[in-house]
């Protein structure tokens, strides 16, 4: 039966392919299909031995399959030892996966226009939102940014063939799309937004903290609602180690909240930037 509450499952790798040594896409079979909310994540490991010890949090990129045979996909960038080891795994080898975890994007409000913003590998948590919005024929645009052309998500990974959304690519060196940071592209569009459009707009963003901070500030200024998917080091991913907390506003005071449990998606106004 499909599941949507956290489970610890064993996956078998179907493919684990690198794209220009920058992004990897790993697909595995799991015992049953998982239903996830875009923005939710999984804790993934698969290398032998105790070192590194902890699984790595990866956004759920895609999931499907049929009863008795689920499939799940993740996109990751090699940033340290864990992801380097992950990139060396082969089809047929096993993964340990705990999923689905955390609170994803809130896409349930009717009649809204969405801007989906992904910086760097952050596209991996906004693409699933694009898929859901596309299926629903909701109006959305996507802003994807990277340092240079090769660091943009491969075109064939981009949802939108049949979806009504528009995609704006941005590169800091100008090798593709808008010449500049994705943050600047979003800020520029926000400035031109009519107050009426602003009131119907929701931004969903995932990427470097500085990008999220600037977008959150600009969105607040224009009264645009924004949801940000945060990242942090975490040991467990399901709320028991208390290692991944961030500061959130709780009235006029602040409190530590877990990225893995109360997040990873937060209302941008709640975050103490």
């Amino acid at each position: 039966m499909p599941f949507n509450r956290p489970r610890f499952v064993t996956g078998r790798i179907l493919r684990n392919e690198g794209r220009g040594e920058i992004f990897y896409r790993i697909e595995a079979t799991i015992p049953e299909p998982v239903r996830f909310v875009p923005g939710q994540f999984a804790m993934v490991s698969g290398w032998p031995g105790n070192d590194p010890l902890l699984p790595r949090p990866l956004a759920v990129f895609r999931a499907g399959g049929t009863r008795g045979k689920g499939k799940v996909e993740f996109v990751y960038k090699v940033v340290g030892r864990g992801t380097a080891l992950l990139s060396g795994l082969h089809p047929g080898e096993t993964l340990s996966i705990t999923l689905p975890l955390g609170r994803g994007f809130d896409l349930d409000r009717e009649g809204r226009t969405y801007w989906l913003v992904g910086g760097g590998v952050g596209f991996s948590s906004v693409f699933p939102a694009a898929v859901v919005l596309g299926r629903r024929r909701a109006a959305f645009e996507m802003f994807l940014g990277a340092r240079t052309r090769e660091h943009l998500p491969p075109r064939e990974w981009t949802p939108g063939g049949k979806t009504p959304g528009t995609i704006h690519f941005c590169t800091e060196d100008g090798t593709a799309g808008f010449h500049g940071r994705v943050t600047d592209a979003v800020l520029e569009r926000l400035r031109r937004l009519s107050p009426e459009s602003a009131s119907r707009m929701t931004i969903l963003a995932c990427g470097p903290r500085e990008m999220l901070r600037e977008i959150a500030a600009a969105a607040a200024e224009r009264s645009v609602s924004a949801q940000v998917a945060l990242e942090n080091h975490m040991a467990c991913g399901f709320g028991v180690c208390w290692g991944c907390v961030v500061s959130l506003w709780d009235g006029d005071r602040t409190a530590y909240r877990r990225v893995c449990r109360e997040g990873p998606v937060f209302d941008a106004r709640e975050v103490v930037w």
Binding site: L53, F238, G243, Y256
Partner: protein
Amino acid sequence: MVTPDLSVSLGGLRVKNPVMSASGTFGYGVEFTPFYDISRLGAVVVKGLSLAPTPGNPPGRIVETAAGMLNAIGLQNIGVERFVGDVVPRLEDAGATFVANIYGKTLEEYEAVARRLSEVPSLGAIEVNASCPNVREGGMAFGATTGGIAQLTERVRRCTGKTLWVKLSPNVTDIASIAKAAEGSGADAVSLINTIVGMAVDHRTRRPELSNVTGGLSGPAIKPVALRMVWEAAKAVRIPVIGVGGIQNAADALEFLLVGASAVQVGTANFRNPRACVDILVGIEAFFREQRIARLEEYRGGLQREKIP
């Protein structure tokens, strides 16, 4: 062969098997109900409780190290009142045997938390945290000397009729004398070890990895230290010793039982495998069946010192 009898008495609390969670790695227990039936465990030991809710340390709380991790959470917790009001009913519903780990900045705070918890009939035992390395006051400040541990144990002992465990710090020169001090002051059992104080820095940014600078090392990296200390403590005291530190699988747990532990607590392993405790329990049962061991007592403390002929 019939199911082996894994039950064991832990200073007044009889548990059906020797596998428990370690405080601070299992939340309040209920977080694990999506993964398995937590009533299968010998006991659930919950995260350290203080009198009032505690915010904990600023972010930069964990860092992975070789075969282990450092944490400096700073005992963020919901406080004893919310635990009693919100969590206890859920643990009761789950049918779990549960133990509360307690912590205070002062002796009086330890006493107040112990008194409040003594009013909870379903609570199996109180485990006094005399060993948290990540808070300035309380915790390890009491656990580092025989005088400190004796005073803390005695004071809490006087406030509660509950089974009382004292969780010991490895950051001491002689664990045997610390364990004896706890025993002599009224502890019904001791659990050890808590984390080992450690540190990690970044050579490029020239900064510590943890906001607290130092933290507690846990995971497989500390298992040999824990095993040695449990062995030393078990020889020194007559009360049960609960082995904690780096247990990842059934073999690790059995090693602790072999050197004299009456039971074990599984900690950091829960982070990478939410089913770790129950997997370890199943593994111990399978081992006893394979070895035709009918009762835990037949195996426990049976370390052979002679050379194999």
